[in-house]
Symmetry: D3
Subunit: 311 residues, 6 copies
């Protein structure tokens, strides 16, 4: 059974990946596990009660399991009371993780065609080199550990969505430098391949916490520009400026504010794509005619799922 097929209480068996695995003990000192299970179709909370210390030690994050038990509904959300939990050692973890709606090949083709379309050789060469140096990670890492685009390929997919919007912006304001705008979009979050630990089950690395993906990406550009003997070219300075300023405000971690229009477009499109995804996720999890939970990443707003009958 797939997770998204679960709609009612009763016995189930699902094959899924453990993405969270917390140990606990009841008041009576009996060990138990509090788990999050994921497959490509969704996410499920599970509890495994009345274990021994030996059993508790058998399970960990990243393990693919056959999970059997009973679904109950607790505060309108499904929860699995586990009866049996067996590792499937032959399973391929990649079959159980959520992924971008485009394949890696599709995303690479779209990015390559953007690079090929650039007319400015300096911008094109620097951007291409920086992406190539992290290519494998660029197409598999998520764009965040939670909130939005937190799936395999999320980083490249988020980038591509922004680049598509940028074309419409360029059409309205033809005086914008399309090569610079597109390059800035392609590189703006690339530092996340060092800030985060892995394509799946990503956590922040120590380097990621200490430096931040903004400074990491600026260094990636600097290294390539130095190797190409372009570190004094103004276009390279502007590319670094776009990456450094893309959080839009100093209190969000940008050491400088956007001072060229292309940098301003970048920060607004970044907000637009990430917020559309978060709002859609909230609406999909909410009944029509009601509001979802307050979301910290949306300034604590509740999102309204409008009534169906009136659309």
């Amino acid at each position: 059974m797939k997770i998204k097929e679960i709609h009612e209480e009763g016995k189930v068996s699902v094959k899924a990946l453990i993405t969270k695995c917390d140990r606990g003990r009841t008041n009576k000192n009996t060990p138990y596990l509090s788990l999050t299970l994921e497959d490509r179709t969704g996410v499920l909370d599970a509890k495994f009660w009345n274990l021994t210390d030996e059993m508790v030690a058998m399970y960990h994050v990243g393990m693919v399991v056959e999970a059997q038990g009973e679904i109950i509904f607790h505060k309108n959300a499904a929860q699995l009371r586990l009866r049996k939990l067996t590792e499937d050692k032959d399973a391929d973890l990649f079959d159980y993780v959520r992924e971008a709606p485009m394949t890696k090949a599709e995303m690479k083709a779209e990015v390559d065609s953007m690079l090929d379309a650039m007319k400015d050789p300096v911008i094109r060469d620097v951007t291409r080199e920086v992406i190539q140096a992290s290519e494998e990670k660029f197409y598999t890492y998520p764009a965040a550990t939670r909130n939005h685009h937190n799936f395999v390929g999320g980083l490249a997919y988020h980038t591509i969505c922004m680049a598509r919007l940028a074309k419409a912006v360029k059409a309205l304001y033809p005086w914008l430098d399309e090569d610079l705008l597109c390059a800035g979009i392609l590189l703006h979050d690339l530092g996340k391949v060092e800030e985060l630990s892995s394509p799946m089950l990503a956590e922040y690395t120590s380097e990621g916490n200490l430096l931040g993906h903004i400074s990491i990406a600026a260094a990636m550009i600097d290294r390539v520009a130095l190797a190409l003997d372009l570190e004094r070219d103004e276009r390279v300075v502007l590319l670094k400026h776009m990456v450094l300023s893309h959080h839009g405000k100093m209190e969000y971690g940008s050491p400088v504010l956007p001072m060229i229009p292309e940098a301003e477009v970048l920060t607004l499109l970044d907000n637009l794509d990430s917020r559309m995804v978060m709002m859609k996720q909230s609406i999909d999890a909410t009944q029509p005619g009601t509001f979802g939970p307050r979301m910290f990443a949306l300034d604590n707003r509740m999102i309204y799922h409008r009534k169906e009958e009136e659309r």
Copy 2:
């Protein structure tokens, strides 16, 4: 001579509109005038020294004049020292004001085609009625008294630019309600036809200061919906919500925050269009390779005009 043709010091004669007219007296108690002159091509500061009280009383804002004198450059900006200033009573004030790059007819055609394309009858009818009730003003008023789109037709032109961007956003997120999004954009700033005093030389009205264009536009929608017996329809509530929330933050004067994705798109596109225009204005007034002045409406940022040779 047109204002934009002024490039060097020396004698000139220009025909222009007085848009600012401040009276003063020198230390020696002699009256003088400090003026702003505009024609369709630009803006020029002027000083008229050594006047009498009678002469000072002859000039006022909104007068078209033949201005003769000498151009000097003061802090890198041209200034006209007036020798003679004659009213041209036959001139049509409208020949001297800056206007949107589209004609009123072109703008009306584009708005009408948007309305015709709406599939939802409630949204279409309410939006059409609200615009019709202020049609003359909608196509002639500016979008602001300064900063951006402060010219005849600026309100409709700003609205149309946002609507064009909205089409690209809809293409990427097809689950958005295009009718609602387009209607929200068309109505979001319509309250400015009451908040401001006139198409040209606009000032804030008392009602504009006391209520604000956000509440004024919400009332306009309410009245039409009441007349159409639609005031309880959820689509009308959502339209009002989009108008009320379009400043994006409470401290910017929105009494509620955007709670539906269409409202979030509205506020981001509003920022995008207004900031592109302000940044372009700054760049056009700045030498390549230098930064423009700090701009209050852009969080006190200076905008960089990049070097020409490298584009």
Copy 3:
């Protein structure tokens, strides 16, 4: 037994209204209910353990019940461990809700006498019409869902208290327009009759969340003024201004700030009455010589209940 009569541990039987009803399951998967019970004299937390799914489904918010069980004290607060819980279908819910210290008739008489005392016919007529259009709700709705005046009639009672204070303010500053001040007070929170769902057990409506009571009340005034052909009268604009600005700061949801003295008085008296009630509630629930809990609605302050012996 009345709730306020409960002072010690032991068996009790109370008749009360269910105002909160959360379902849960223990670690052992047994269903239980976590309830809030209210009668006119107070509020009581209750737990009903060891239920079946059928029993859990029998109870809901708004039901009047006969509750039997045992009182225990948990963190200095009484809690009822239920043994038996029976619906009383004949009971009138209104007998069990908390109410304003004035009757509806008394409040209506006081409001009517204020209206009769107004000398300005425009202000009087508009105010009277707006109140009449929501009269039933105005005298029964609460002023909030929690924090202060969250009881039947709270909205009108809060309004009347503010109006009484306004008389003293007018006496000290005789140049204030008493009619305008009184009208602004009477109308300032009237939008709550749409923002909230009901006199008792009130929740926020969708329209309430999307528009806010401030914009709702402004629309109420606008509709009446339109019907009376007074929508351009400055006194109507000022009334709307008072309602729109009464939260005092933009970040609290007012789209404009108070720009006339009567509006400033309104916002200060609103703060005064609501804070007095919240502080009194905190003091009544706190031992002399100690501080109450931090209160979010009071900027996270703790309120001090001073020592008895020294008064």
Copy 4:
């Protein structure tokens, strides 16, 4: 001629007090004086051109002068171009300063009757002693150097206005401690007698800048309580708390926030009285139907002077 009688351009002679006296030199290196003149009826700007260094040295703040010259209107405000300026050594400076609308004797009588009405002997004795220790200054000092109550007796008058409002508040919330509330009001700004330099022409003292009137007043209470052997009495602690917390927010200089209802009433009535006075001043200086200048002390608001005909 009195200052308030000046309505048109032309020659005048006024007897007034110099309250500001700045020296300058024109571009041509000629000394001049820029003065502010005040009498009991108003304030007047004046310029004295073409002086010698000897003449410039003759005039200073606090001098009563006979001023002769010509009134001109500069930016809608009257300005006096001086021709002759003679000191009147026999004049009594006190005849030329603005004063509270109550006499010192009236104010003292009202304060004394408040003290006599106090039932709590600790509060009464401490308050009486603290006021007596600064009595002369309490009835003559202003409440501020500008903005509001910046006239002789302003401190006592502001205090008395607040105390009158407090009676109405007590009537509505009878559980408040009237003695404590009244005592807190009487003492809250008393530190200004050390923070400011004099009843007229007041400036901040060094001690005033370094300690602030809040801490100065707390020390005044502490000294009296110590002398009366009451420094451990809770009522004394509460009185100090009211003084310390009366600015209402830490960022306005209160080291603690109001934690008793009496302290909250104090801070709200302080705001009410000072804002009413500032708003009235703005309205009196503004034409009906227009807005006054932005006022820093009112969060940068403009105040609206409503149209006359509609009142």
Copy 5:
């Protein structure tokens, strides 16, 4: 066994002080205790299940106990499941509390030598008198109830550390007044002897909450200066200024900002010493190569414990 010697699960017996003692009841209505135990070497959480009401009533904060039970690890932290808990009535509570790394005698000697070294008689005499008036408490009270220096003698120890740093600052900026700087440091937190309740198990007093340690310390200086007839001496005003301004920002509770360099040094050294201690505590409780928990008192930062091998 000492608390810091506990490294693994299994049976233990420790002698310790109860510093937190919360009563609870399980779902089954059985009483239990949730305790914090401390000895000089560390802190340990403990649970005592399945008690009777009589047993629960036997234990309270401040009792020294012999605690027997079993250590388990819950979320990587040791927890003691109690089997037996016996009061040791002969134990001296002081043998079980954490203390400063200097003895009281050592601290007093260092403070006295600082006082003796002061050349300015006014500063020296006032400072000495103020400290003597609270001497016993100054050397035993903590500097805070948690976060940093929350141990016996913490107040004096924190003060001494700051004074040592001040010597280096004076060496670099010889124009600073060393006596004033040292005196300000010695007195800046002295108000904590009234703000907190006791050397051990300290809580905020009512007076502490209502006045704050800043105002309390200012009053202490004022009383001594008055007794020495020095209350008008500028050095006394500057000392009070240093105490009042030492939180560095109004929103942190300082009614005035530092306006002399010595006050600025004081606030920066206060931050330096308190943050070093908090960061060291976090690092000591964190594994190398990982980050500690977010700390509210450090602006919500996580502190990094760098990898061992690379030092």
Copy 6:
């Protein structure tokens, strides 16, 4: 005559450097110059009236001149009315600029001895290489364009002062890594050699505005580490972290907050040294017993110059 020797009005002749040179025209359209003159002893404002366009074009920033004219005092500050202004083409500009109180050789010796004392080879080698790559600029550039250390050698001198304070901090907290702390201090502001334009008469470069000295310095470290094959070494990451976090708050331009104690010490000592210098400058320019002007870089504080007689 040296600038600091000017104490009274009268004729003077000074040899000095032009550091500001603004052109203007009087109301009568006559050109004039408004100049700032500096020599090693101080700064002097000057006006040169009644010029021709040819004369105005002769002078510019960076020129050494013989200036003759008359000193007058305007608002208590000396101003030079120029009569004659002659360029001295043989003068060495460096003889007229203000400099650090240590020679370049002394500063280099102190920095080299710090580097030699480092025990950690990775930290030592990276730090030494980064400084060597900008050595000439490091010892000549200022630390800022105004406010503090805005003189030749200011950057190195500010760095050395901080390093001296760091030794005292290390003495008190011996668990700090002295090599890391010292290296972070040496490198923290090094990006200013690219952010600013020159040792004297420095302005912000375009790259400086677009990237900021924080990101520039991080790139400098990155390049050296890459060349030494140390870019993955944790010590290099920590050095970059210290540079990135040294402004202490995100809103001051640090993309990450200090997460190791050495980074916290760095930001506090940076504040300490810069504020001591700004406060001393204010005191030196203020009369005893008075307050200096409000200083933007000190949170708008006025600094008090205490009375002399009492020290």
